[in-house]
Point group: C2
Chain length 165, copies 2
DNA sequence: TGGGTTATGTTATATCATATCACGAATCTA
DNA sequence: TAGATTCGTGATATGATATAACATAACCCA
């Protein structure tokens, strides 16, 4: 499978799709999609790009005054375990997963200008890593592939040598 | 180029190689390989596996009582910029680079049992990422590829279904 | 309805990282 | 070689990210 999932142009619809999928999947798996978990997932999706745990916390606190770091981290842990969000290690931040049906090893294209993250799922990359690690006798459990650079839109807009980091 | 660099069996020799290379390269580049930077690089190499900044700090303090977090972070920044150490994003930790001559995009095989990290540099992976990201209009600047799993030794020793995280 | 299990609240703390200002040493330049 | 400039480090404070540990609430189901 090869997919690219930029966020839907109609973002609010995109969010309700994500919440709906999550709810359905949780039911299938007999795990609890509690109001807190739903709300945290919604906050992650509402963010334009990747969002940090403490920013989720700030927003959550507007409506749930007693929220504390563990509140958020536990929800994010759950959402990550179920495959509804992904953690971007190089940013210490989280993004909604665009294809939550299957637990998968995706790759992330992180734009250094606009901050958006696109999730791609390219077999060629996954299996190259798997096979070549295997050549070294290594048994792969998880792959973290995060690619920093310029997304196509930003590249067009500022195609010059603009630098960032 | 395709290499695998497990740490040399004669570790102390491996360390002095690394220090020697770094010294030479710094001279070539006209940057200063100060005693502090040398010592931090040595501490990173002396660590069995990836080492966190604060563990470097603790060890450094044994001999340099006034060391503080910025002391270590600045040295690690320098060493990273020059390509003598790599940061493992998924661990918030640092490893010595086994091939510091060329600044490169490597991949890391992280054993979840013994904690060792092997650096590999496999063109097939690098270019698969580069090309397939390019297909999506993305211009690659940096790749982070960190593979968690079981190294060959640990796989032999505990080839069963031992789980870890 | 009681007892196990799961989820969340609560407090505290661990861990990771940077901002900022001071100051002397190294380097440059005229 | 004097003076300017940059660089490396010291020192203090704080910001940012993440988890431990224990208490309570909600849920489930026999």
């Amino acid at each position: 499978m090869e997919t690219l999932s930029f966020k839907d142009h109609d973002h609010s619809r995109c969010i309700s799709n994500a919440l709906g999928s999550a709810e359905r999947i949780c039911e299938e798996r007999s795990v609890r999609f509690t109001p807190l978990r739903r709300r945290v997932l919604e906050l992650v999706w509402q963010s334009h790009g990747p969002i940090g745990a403490y920013e989720v916390l700030d927003r959550l606190r507007a409506e749930r005054r007693r929220a504390a770091p563990p509140t958020v981290y536990r929800a994010l842990q759950f959402l990550g375990d179920e495959g509804f969000v992904h953690r971007i290690e190089s940013l210490n931040a989280y993004v909604g997963c665009t294809t939550p049906e299957s637990r998968h090893n995706a790759q992330y294209l992180i734009c250094g200008l606009c901050g958006e993250v696109a999730e791609i799922d390219v077999d060629e990359i996954t299996s190259a890593i798997h096979h070549r690690a295997g050549d070294f006798g290594f048994e792969v459990r998880r792959q973290t592939v995060e690619v920093a650079g310029l997304c196509s839109r930003c590249r067009v807009e500022q195609g010059d040598g603009t630098s960032f980091d």
